[in-house]
Symmetry: C3
Subunit: 645 residues, 3 copies
């Protein structure tokens, strides 16, 4: 486990480089990421390169035992390139190009962009291939599947559809273009959905396919850089850095051929009861192994929006340790120092604009120290008996047709992740199509778009004795984003042993259900169930469906299948989780204080329990008969000794 | 009276057609509307037509005694037409065309569009002219007066203005272009107001004229299809279907040459105290005779927006019966079954996506049954002594220059409609320029834009003994949307016997008035009146105008004229209505429970009282000495027997 | 002191002119502004001029002893000009021109526009140069620094940058284009920030420079008209009229060569505790002498938005008198009568649309009468020992990078202006770079962008014994809008005797501070201070920085320097102001009732105390042993006698 920083030498007078490197070394920084946005400094004019400054910085780091990650600078092409080739910008329907001089906005598909991007990446790889302490490469920055309507994208999307459907007839059938005279009689009539145009007005099949296309295009772009680097540096360790953006590419396929996954981790600086642990577990699940944080919260956010609240004492250190607990074995902080210029100057780094290290930097020093104390746990991994399924198609399709106010796919994931982690169990968040062997409980929220693989493996898992949870809006859509013409939850109805007689889109309204002896509040959605043999777990108390089942449990094969037809408050989800863990015979702790997160990591026989207080108040819990106290945002690993990190 | 459904055979496997037709017959469906959006299936390529599938469906219906309405499919031109002729799309100021592949968006004025639309309509009319059970034709779908800036529209608008004003000088004078150097020195300088640009920035005369032009263009388009169909099928019964859209065409002139009016009726599924009865009475007033519902609420709404709440039990049936009570002798439900594809898949039909008829379908069956019980009332009509005036110019002009927060023309209509119907009297909503003979009370809210006809007939009506209500913002504008230079309410000041000394734009603020012994709350607007002989009915209790009259009553000729200078809460409007009915010597019921609506229909000597409980709670009222109980959304017609529908 | 009206003869039938002029004379109107928007009536076709109507109106006024101000009509070019030369419209990035037919929207930089504007201005000046009672000229209307992207503006901006920076290297360094590969390698890559595009996405240096450029372009345009008029009428008194618009030009440089400053004064008609006195003092500070109101509130506002509330009784007269109290020796009311046509018809004038003078006009008559009573105070001026500094760069830069919710530069000014005026002292609002000689207290809120002049003069002022207040976000930026790399408040840290260890962006959140014995609430921002010798005046009570200083006071030279690290509620600011006045040995009144404003004007030895009740309730205060009562919005000047105005 190690700590790093994102560093932008090009922002600073050369005089500062040595001073910064020296302070990094003293503090315990072990890795720096550089070069990410520096294209205009590396290639000031078309074909004229300047690597001298980067050479110097990399050497300064190497001399101090600090490893280097090179970010390819392709996220921000230089203005000379935009000027010479306006066609590298993304375009809207009318052909209007995005403004240059902001950030991003290049079209990955543009052959001209690819040519120039390829050249700068090649030059970087060639120049640093033999530098031993250049230990990894980050491709571009926070790539996402853009809704670009440039000629190239339009053409490629049409080709993609041709390959997928073969004929217009097949595509028309798949998209149900029988509605509103939407039939295509020529490929040239196909056009991508347009950014900022209400997605609800488009054919749902077209939208979902475009999102898949955009994801695959992004993956192809990443693969293009990956192969290029690999062709020059066969042993290079290559990644890209992700965040949960609007047009998320499919993380599972994008990272398949990359060496490790990286996440940009910016938990909220306002304690609101939510936890970034979901994202951490999700990123660990991408390659089902430990991952990196490539950008970690270091100070006040602020750039495109107002500045946000200052991180509370403990957050800078604690959120890095939380990430480590969940498998981020390298945590790179964004960034060493606040930029003093540029639009992002108020996205704060560890050191303030004044260049006087302050409270946050002191915490960072303590973090480096803490990580040294964690050394015995190096190489340990997280094993889990509970899996939470994530499906890209569900996210795409659910987002583009909002079912009711407040209903988000990611919210469901967060609710269930919280319900289980509050019971002190490890949770894996994995691809819905992944192998489920070895799990005892599988939570499959909103299996909205048909995945035959997922449906098959959930059936098998239950048959063989597993405990499964399915939730409302499962089995709604076929693979083309059309409604399936069968009683909900369609593909899952047999497992569930119940069906949806009717539903009510509650949105911001709420209703009550009886769950055991408790009355709980639900919101957003109400599936009005009819049992086909399943046991009723909760019933509605309000509305015209008072008395109808809201939650059921069914025996299926050797296993048990729960169906949860609503969005429930935390207590209800937690109660459900407890039931399921009992059903599966899995141990858990019902006595964890609010906000205390417990992850166990193992290394052969060794076991390390990472106990993190994710909250603004001191907490205490029982640990092997003793009381273990935790300051706000503090971590303890009892197996390593009786001290707080 | 009869029930129908909107049916889209083109959405479904042919295998379902027979099954669907069979179920319709069993259920009691007597009419289906088809073909409305099916252009791309009727003419898959330019000039290649395919009517075979429609022939089959129409035949299936005929075989089962089900009548057919054909909707001309011109609302959604096929993509091949957009591709070959992009100029058929609406354009904005910069010439940018609307996106194809959504819905609507064709420009009615485009000669190319007219040519193609004419051809498909002609083919349909020729093909089905002799099919006896094709009983009516619906032109296009929900036509509205678009703010299109294509070359054709711009040119036609200029021609329209030339015809209206003759010279630029006359138009400049009419528009008061003396403000802000707005003078036109050539017709080529005239441009329509641009969609989505704030209307408040335009010359009010230009906006109002453009709205009139847009309405007349829409009417001309409807007339174009009407004449075409009529030329082929001389006896065809022809309509179009309307809803209260933003750019409403003038319903009175649009429907003049059509055979009957049709309304798309989607009451809110959340009970909020308002009633769709206003719209129903308004649609009956369009041709002053009974009308059709061409689309009737059948399930959860949802498409361009999130899904809304599920209809409460009773709503699917009850709102159809409410429409019938108010004169909708045919009610066609939208739609037989939820679409499983396309953007509108969540605008729910009677049968769910699962194709398993559920609760709503059962209600629909009960509705068909109920309508059979209403057969004795067939042919009955609604007669009313109370008229509520509607003026298109008022709606146009009031909407484009919002006077104060919360002030809407339709809100005034709704308030007064509710005030009178709550007293159990029939209310006609009619064109402000219509004949007022036979009425006892005429409510004329916000006679904002000058209509000489209306002013004359209101004067005559009052002179001859009628009771009239006028409200704030009457007499404000001349026919060119300029303020009239005389004390408000200008054209009506003599009738009113009072004038507006000053006004206050309350917006969301409120104030109190004393009305008899009661203190009531008013909002939005306060006309501070000075009596010129009128009796004071209510006075302000707040603000610098405390003590000034807010409502007056004047004797004018043999009649009485009330002036209501505010927006009042329900109790105040109801109290006013009661006074006016007393003044006019009209019978009413003061004891109706909240939400109970009473419409009397007559057929020669026979009288049928339709009593509808428009609310979520059971209600009871006294009926000829007995207590008559009503379930939520239930209808009773005591003259037909002691049962609930 | 005198009262005038804005008059638009071109809106009215000629028959009304004489009648209006007669009523003006009777009422006591002494000046009218005409011609401002009348270009299309003065030049109906290219090169054909019609001054006859204006001649007649000016003569009618002259005959009645009414002076005239001519507004140059260049704000609204005629449509024939837009048609012949579309390039005179402002453009966006894509070249799309603003719609003609609205208002404004011409590009000041367009050479074609300049040619035509110059010609009409020249013709007006030539025609009326010898008319004695044409006493002043107003250039254009409410000029502002537009974000225009037409070719001319783009070219001029590039030239401006070339002149400023000389080389691309220097500009790149100044803008810190090292961020996000923002380096310019050719001037042709430079583009202005685009209107309506989020400013937060642009390089802050580019934005600030563009705002300066836009301001200077506006100033140059005003200078162009000024020189033209002056060349024809050497002795002309020339002004332009300003309001606090979004893209405010630098008032100090714009008015430098103009003869007097003019302000369009529209206080809110809803009493909300704020005072327009800040704007009045600011406008008086522009040239540090008395100024004009060129447009004064006369009725309900309403045009681009809904109508607002009617002015309360007393407001029409009182707000004019308030303006006079603060140095507006001429107050011109907007406008004589409501327009009956055009988009602005609901921006109400003194006389209603009816042309029947009502309550507001009666107040206006009383105002004219009151001003005659003020005659002895003619020629008096306001002297102040308290200065509040205003810096255009601060406003520009603070607005384009909102620091936290609720933080506005103008809000800080308003808070401190209110704090001091509530204590009955005169306050000058002056350019931050102005001479501070003669002041005892200088309040310098948010000295955000470096001004070496201001920093030097504040140091000198304090050294010599002055009392200074600095507030949070001072010393943040260098002249290029980059953060200064030193502990905040950087340039001021030595005076302050403390530095900002850290800060918290509270936004809408709040916290408490202890100030003496009081607990006060602060919001928006918290500078967490560390004293380097300064005395602590207030400390935080909440958050992780409880106990840290929030406000400090330092002795610097012979003076005292306060630093206020927060946004405070009124009581706190007032308490601070009281302390500072005590420190500076200045007299004040701590007993003024809420809303009572006291301005003293002097004329040699004579002193006149203008006491204004800026509130909806009667007020009373002690005056030389007697109780002085004030009606709402009434003024008293005790030195002129015991009567209320």
């Amino acid at each position: 486990m190690r700590i790093g920083v994102d560093y932008y030498p090009e922002h600073w007078d050369r005089a500062l480089w040595r001073q910064d490197a020296e302070l990094m070394r003293e503090t315990g920084v072990r890795v720096v990421r550089v070069a990410e946005f520096a294209w205009s400094r590396l290639e000031p004019e078309d074909g004229r390169f300047d690597f001298a400054w980067l050479d110097e910085v990399i050497e300064l780091m190497g001399e101090r035992g600090i490893d280097v990650v090179i970010g390819t600078p392709t996220s921000c092409p230089p203005l000379w390139l935009f000027e010479a080739h306006p066609e590298i910008s993304q375009a809207d329907y009318s052909g209007q190009r995005d403004l240059p001089g902001i950030r991003g906005h290049r079209c990955y598909q543009s052959p001209v962009f690819r040519e120039y991007a390829g050249r700068i990446v090649r030059r970087l790889a060639e120049r640093y291939r033999d530098v031993k302490h250049v230990i990894a490469w980050q491709i571009d920055n926070e790539v996402e599947g853009s809704f670009c309507c440039c000629d190239v994208c339009v053409g490629k999307f049409r080709e993609w559809l041709k390959r997928r459907y073969g004929t217009l007839e097949a595509m028309n059938a798949a998209f149900h273009t029988d509605v509103w005279s939407g039939d295509y009689s020529a490929w040239s009539q196909v056009f991508p959905p347009v950014k900022n145009h209400p997605m609800t007005q488009y054919n749902p099949g077209l939208i979902l396919d475009f999102q898949r296309f955009a994801s695959q295009s992004t993956e192809a772009y990443v693969a293009f850089q990956r192969e290029l680097i690999r062709s020059i540096i066969p042993g290079a360790r290559i990644t890209t850095n992700s965040w949960f953006c609007e047009h998320l590419p499919d993380l599972y396929s994008m990272y398949r051929e990359l060496d490790f996954a990286s996440y940009d981790n910016y938990p909220s600086t306002v304690p609101d009861g939510s936890s970034h642990a979901l994202h951490l577990d999700l990123m660990r699940g991408v390659k089902r192994r430990n991952f990196w944080i490539m950008e970690q919260l270091s100070g006040l956010p602020g750039c495109w929006m107002n500045m946000g609240r200052a991180p509370q004492p403990g957050m800078v250190k604690g959120y890095a340790l939380q990430a480590i607990a969940h498998g981020a074995d390298t945590v790179v902080h964004f960034r060493w120092r606040c930029a003093v210029g540029g639009a992002e100057m108020y996205w704060h780094g560890l050191i303030d604009h004044s260049n006087v290290p302050g409270r946050r930097f002191k915490e960072f020093e303590a973090l480096c120290e803490a990580v040294r104390a964690l050394a015995p746990a190096d190489g340990s991994r997280i094993e889990s008996k509970v899996a939470l399924l994530f499906g890209m198609d569900n996210e795409y399709a659910f987002r583009s047709q909002l079912q009711a106010e407040g209903m988000y796919y990611m919210r469901q994931l967060a609710d269930w992740h919280k319900a289980f982690t509050a019971l002190g169990v490890n949770v894996d968040v994995i691809d819905q199509n992944a192998d489920l062997d070895g799990y005892g409980v599988v939570v499959a929220p909103t299996m909205y778009v048909r995945s035959e693989t997922a449906a098959r493996s959930l059936h098998t898992f239950a048959e063989r004795g597993g405990t499964v949870l399915l939730t409302c809006r499962s089995g709604v859509k076929d693979v083309n984003n059309n409604c399936i013409m069968a009683p909900l939850p369609t593909d899952y109805a047999d497992m569930v042993g119940a069906h949806v007689a009717e539903y009510d889109a509650l949105g911001a309204d709420s209703a009550r259900v009886r769950f055991g002896d408790e009355v709980c509040r639900i919101t957003c959605w109400a599936d009005i169930l009819e049992s086909d043999g399943a046991e009723v777990v909760a019933t509605y108390l309000d509305g015209f469906y008072a008395g109808a089942p809201a939650v059921t449990r069914n025996r299926y094969g050797a296993g048990k299948v729960y169906y949860f037809g609503v969005y429930g408050e935390a207590a209800l989800c937690r109660g459900m989780a407890e039931r399921m863990l009992k059903d599966a015979g899995l141990a858990y702790r019902a006595d964890l204080p609010e906000g205390v997160e417990l992850v166990s990591r193992t290394n052969g026989d060794a076991r390390y329990t990472f106990i993190f207080n994710n909250g603004p108040k001191p907490a205490a819990l029982d640990w092997e008969g003793k009381t273990l106290a935790l300051s706000p945002y503090a971590l303890r690993v009892p197996e390593l000794g009786d001290f707080e990190l």
